[in-house]
């Protein structure tokens, strides 16, 4: 407050405003307050601001704007602000670390900030380490299951001891022109395969196999599906000339269906 120089060029007996007065902040303002005041004034004193009309002219706006800039540059930097307080006799009863907020303290150099950050990080890291140890003791990880591919599931034909004898037996059965559910059972009896085995390897549902062997057409699927199922069923049992068998069986299925519709 001791800067009482008179402004002789303007002819006004005014002491120069201090930087604090210029920005309109108190002496113990934080750097956030100073920044806010600066932006408010900067936005007010612009050439395009209509609200200044007739109050101040263009050169005055420039002048004020420059002063505000100057004041902000000094006050926003904590070192220069302390220096300004000292030289202009502001009785700042503030300790060095009371000005400014957490990261804008007076005397905080880059290395100080770096050290603070390092300490902070180490603290957090050690915390995290402890946490991970606790975690590992509480929850032991289970050994992972290895899902190996098993090729024995993919099996195209029924396994038979004597292939020549089996085929001759099968072909005798296949000569039967009137194909029905009993013949399917007989065929399966010769091969020694169970219903479940056929279901497992051909992926035909058990219900369908049962309906096939008991001639219950009502539970069978549509014709095209039936054809496919028959093909894979007979193929698994190594039945020769299976196309003729399928045709004859499908003929039977069609007859049943026409009876149903009538």
């Amino acid at each position: 407050m001791n800067d009482m120089t008179t402004n002789s060029t303007l002819g006004v007996n005014t002491r120069k405003q201090s930087y604090y007065e210029l920005l309109g902040v108190s002496q113990d303002a934080t750097s956030t307050n100073i920044r806010e005041a600066y932006f408010r004034l900067k936005n007010t004193y612009t050439q395009t601001n209509q609200a200044l009309y007739s109050l101040v002219d263009h050169s005055e706006i420039d002048e004020i704007s420059k002063q505000v800039e100057q004041a902000y540059e000094v006050l926003v930097n904590t070192h220069s602000r302390l220096e300004y307080n000292r030289t202009h006799g502001f009785e700042s009863n503030l300790e060095e670390d009371q000005i400014g907020d957490e990261f804008h303290r007076v005397g905080a150099t880059a290395s100080d900030v770096g050290e603070r950050f390092r300490n902070f990080r180490e603290e957090n890291l050690s915390k995290r380490r402890i946490r991970s140890e606790e975690f590992s003791t509480a929850y032991k990880p289970k050994p992972m299951k290895s899902n190996k591919l098993s090729f024995d599931r993919i099996k195209k034909h029924v396994s038979v001891d004597d292939l020549g004898q089996y085929e001759s037996e099968i072909s005798d059965l296949a000569l039967d022109s009137d194909w029905s559910g009993d013949l399917f059972i007989k065929l399966r009896g010769v091969s020694g395969a169970t219903q479940e085995e056929i279901q497992y390897h051909t992926k035909i549902s058990l219900g369908f196999i049962k309906s096939l062997e008991s001639d219950s057409f009502a539970q069978m699927p549509q014709e095209s599906y039936l054809k496919g199922f028959l093909s894979s069923y007979l193929g698994y049992l190594r039945v020769p000339k299976k196309d003729t068998i399928i045709e004859s069986y499908l003929g039977k299925y069609r007859d049943w269906k026409s009876q149903q519709s009538n």
Binding site: N7, L10, G11, V12, N13, T14, R15, Q17, G24, R40, L41, N43, T44, N49, Q50, A51, L52, Y53, S54, L55, V56, E60, E63, I64
Partner: protein, 355 residues
């Protein structure tokens, strides 16, 4: 006519101190420090909250704001007295949808035939009574010297509106220009609302008006404290164009502190007892609103007024339609955006007056 000869048409209501607003009670001595010397207070605790609407330029919506603001305050339950002080261009009654009253302020001030109580007329708005301004031609007869005495009577009537008639608010609709009485009423009200259009002409006149208010306040403080020399010197410093480059009013007043410390302290003391509200009228865009915010900043920094940005009123044809329908806007168009804006201005006004 004597001040004690009020008719008993309206019974006085609250004469208890507790009824007074806390905000006003706290700042009462500050407020009194800047009053004109001829305004005498009878009861310091029963002062109505004085709100005056000015703006320097004509056609900025002073009467419109006064009428609607008073009606809004009335609808909130306050008893409001609306006084048309636009002497010579009185048309406040038209905004309220009333025909010109036979009894007007002219009968009280100029002709001195009626008492103030007789001049007060009930208005169309709820809880609002009006003193209309009178016919133009009667004010043209106003002489130079003879009005000060009768205006002192008007001052006493207005300041005693709470004690005598129980009004919570007195809303003064001021005229255009910087006539001495206009400025006196503006700077001595608790809240002076500056109505501004976002145009250079209106802004220019508003600043002229504020400058006139400041020099009038300096005069009043000087007279009250009997520091005529200090007041004269300060006024000279403020009005001298050669000395005013780049230095704000606030700074110039502060520079007088070395010579007249007591006077400058008293002046700032008086300034802290009155508020300045800024309302931007006929707003079209956000840029117009920003002018209001900037003006608020300037009033604080440049003039050292305690200023508040009360809000803005958008440009709306509803205002003109309501006028043609001869009814009040907030009653005629209760759902218009403009009505809501008036509501928010009143809300802000109540906040800054501590209601």
């Amino acid at each position: 006519m004597d001040i004690t000869s009020y008719s008993t048409k309206k019974q006085p209501q609250g004469q208890n101190i507790n009824h007074a607003n806390e905000w006003l009670k706290e700042r009462h001595s500050q407020w009194v420090a800047g009053l004109p010397p001829f305004a005498q207070l009878f009861d310091v605790h029963n002062v109505p909250t004085m709100i005056s609407i000015g703006g320097g330029k004509g056609g900025v919506g002073k009467s419109f704001i006064s009428a609607n603001l008073a009606a809004k305050l009335g609808s909130l339950g306050f008893k409001v007295l609306l006084v048309d002080l636009d002497l010579g261009g009185a048309n406040l009654h038209t905004y309220l949808g009333m025909g010109s009253n036979k009894l007007s302020l002219a009968d009280f001030v100029l002709y001195e035939q009626k008492s103030f109580a007789e001049v007060i007329q009930p208005s169309s708005a709820n809880n609002v009574d009006i003193v209309s301004g009178g016919k133009d031609e009667s004010w043209a007869l106003e002489g130079e010297g003879n009005t000060t005495g009768s205006l002192a009577l008007l001052w006493e009537s207005i300041l005693g509106a709470k004690r005598n008639f129980g009004y919570d608010f007195v809303v003064l609709d001021l005229g255009a220009g910087i006539h001495r009485h206009t400025v006196d009423f503006f700077q001595s009200s608790h809240l002076g609302i500056l109505s501004v259009l976002p145009e250079p002409t209106s802004i220019e006149n508003a600043y002229t008006f504020l400058k006139a208010c400041m020099s009038r306040l300096i005069e009043n403080v000087g007279t009250n404290k009997e520091e005529f020399e200090a007041a004269y010197k300060t006024k000279e410093l403020l009005t001298n164009p050669d000395r005013s480059r780049g230095v704000s009013y606030a700074q110039r007043i502060k520079s007088m502190y070395q010579e007249y410390p007591h006077f400058v302290e008293e002046l700032f003391y008086a300034l802290s007892g009155r508020q300045l509200g800024i309302v931007i009228n006929q707003v079209h865009s956000q840029r117009d609103v920003d002018i209001g915010l900037s003006m608020n900043q300037i009033c604080q920094n440049f003039f050292a007024f305690q200023s508040v940005f009360l809000g803005f009123l958008n440009h709306d044809d509803a205002a003109r339609k309501a006028l043609r329908n001869k009814s009040l806007l907030i009653n005629d168009f209760p759902h218009a955006i403009l009505t809501k804006r008036i509501g928010s201005v009143v809300n802000q006004l109540q906040k800054c007056l501590g209601y």
